[in-house]
Symmetry: C2
Amino acid sequence: LPAGFTAAGVKAAIKTNGLEDVTIVAGDADCAAAVVTTRNQVFGEPVRYVRQILPKGHGTVRAMVVNSGCSNVATGKGGFTDAREMAARTAKLLGSSPAKVLVASTGIIGHRLPMEKIRRGIDAAAKALSRDNDMAALRGIMTTDTREKYAVVQTRIGGRQVTLGGMVKGSGMIAPSMATMIGVVTTDAAIGSAALHKALLAAVGVSFNAITVDSDTSTSDTVAVLASGAAGNAPIKPGTREYAALAAALAEVCSALARAVVIDGEGATKLITVSVRGARSDAEARVAAGSVANSPLFKCAVHGGDPNWGRIVCALGKSAAKVDPARLRVKIGSHAVFSRGMPVAFDVKALEKHLAAKEVLVEADLGLGKGASAVLTCDLSREYIAINADYHT
Amino acid sequence: LPAGFTAAGVKAAIKTNGLEDVTIVAGDADCAAAVVTTRNQVFGEPVRYVRQILPKGHGTVRAMVVNSGCSNVATGKGGFTDAREMAARTAKLLGSSPAKVLVASTGIIGHRLPMEKIRRGIDAAAKALSRDNDMAALRGIMTTDTREKYAVVQTRIGGRQVTLGGMVKGSGMIAPSMATMIGVVTTDAAIGSAALHKALLAAVGVSFNAITVDSDTSTSDTVAVLASGAAGNAPIKPGTREYAALAAALAEVCSALARAVVIDGEGATKLITVSVRGARSDAEARVAAGSVANSPLFKCAVHGGDPNWGRIVCALGKSAAKVDPARLRVKIGSHAVFSRGMPVAFDVKALEKHLAAKEVLVEADLGLGKGASAVLTCDLSREYIAINADYHT
């Protein structure tokens, strides 16, 4: 935890696995904060509450309260009241106001929160707030995640050491072009909330918005960053070298968290980077890379270690991005497999060795312009089916 | 086979399973013909050849030659020469011209056709052409298909009985919004090729373009219809009652074939209809239905028999179509599960019984307008992964 924050995660029996399920991350005093939420048109009541208290996506925040085990989505006005009560109860215990407490919930859709358990959990978490409970706080936001996912970056800004710490949950219902999942980043940097929001939007674009596990976009996606200012640097202004340093550090934290989400993707055994350049624009490069990263046939081929470049070329061709086979080049790892409309003879044994590793790289050069982008994804395995077909609501 | 056609399918040892792999469907004389091909920007050389001889998508055609086992995609100028040779050889044996023979190939991407086998196959198929070989002809176009898929519709037009017969291959790399897979429809109706093309475009819109197995669009998609005129009806003109009857019959054949493709989808155990109404437009209804039909989480839930309506609502919400949860209603089978932002209590046992059946119906009313559309899909099973991860190029 960067300076100026405490955290806690407690067991409130909302999740059936007996692990932590109510988390509070609190500033010692008011923080500058920025938040990005899901673009899904069906969104949770906690998302509605956060948009109400931070209509511009940034402002002054004292704390964030999160529960796992129930997402409070599709619960109507009663659900909104519950979200607001979570904020109000947390605020009262911290001596703050409901409008300064962010709320997020994750878990099953369509069920009201068990408010008696939530209230007891919030009371216990507020009492347990400390500098040492960050891992329990992280477990308190997890659902189907199989591992704790966090990242810490330190950098010098304005002569001061600045720390950014981030945690994230998510392994299924993960899609690109959205602020994905629940992520909380804290920093001791001093920065205004508008500048922080600008940096967060940029960081999300190259991290959470550039990953996909299964092309499905969650109703609860929320990423928040809280800045305490405890590092003692002069407040960071947009357009300065200091802003660039903080934005780079924030992008680094978010990218590490996003990568951890894909590695922990449901059923995933491999991390796949699909990198496209030579597109007419960066946006078209993202679309083309996403088309490959979301192709179930491609993801199955990587799972099976099959150098099936035909599925890559096919997925590029079906995308909304302009693709001309006569200019297209494709590499898997360091091996050229397709060039300007024709297959390239490759060393099958060496390519299969690359595909057998934990990380697989696909590079496509569309040969049409200077647009470039990359999307991270994972392979598609029987285990994904098992997790999502055998799970019952 | 409708009157005026013969067909044959022969074993030329292109496929390793020893089944038929070269097929010819021939008119006794020249036919009016219409064709729709893939929208994938990476398309096969046979598709390039067909677009060259029928630049408007319709014209006069004598026959169609198809091979399975190798798709002749990403094979460059040599591949185009091979496709043209297939047409020329077939034309010569039938006493026709290369510009009147359609060509399609299906199978692995990136390999040149084994032309010695193809030539022997075409020679043998031309000799075997008869009224009785239609099932062998159908087997000659199949790849991973596990069953023969065909449909026959008869109707009276202009006082004459008119027959339409169709066959199709395809079970993976099947996506909506495209003319999908290889399909051949023959009819003895008398109709001009431009009118036939118009009817085919309409039929494809409600059939092949309204299905998805795995969201991946093939590079070889081709649907052709050939009309011999042997039924003896007065040639059908657009805008007449006769045209409407033929268009309806053609849509019926294409829909039956499209449905058969989904039922035979790789790893499929259930046929799922996602029907959306109340959208702002038919196009938005199609987008919303497609978003559900392509959601791996939804497809896994149906596979597991789980009444997980949250995944349906989530997939609708992430789509590019306008969705307002406060107006949205969702039914699974005859059971309302979601209405205007809130869950609806349902009979779990009865709903699980519906989900345990071979056919599952999902209906969503967006409550925003009069747009309606339906998309057919199948569930997502471990068997899909097995087929596509264990398959090696």
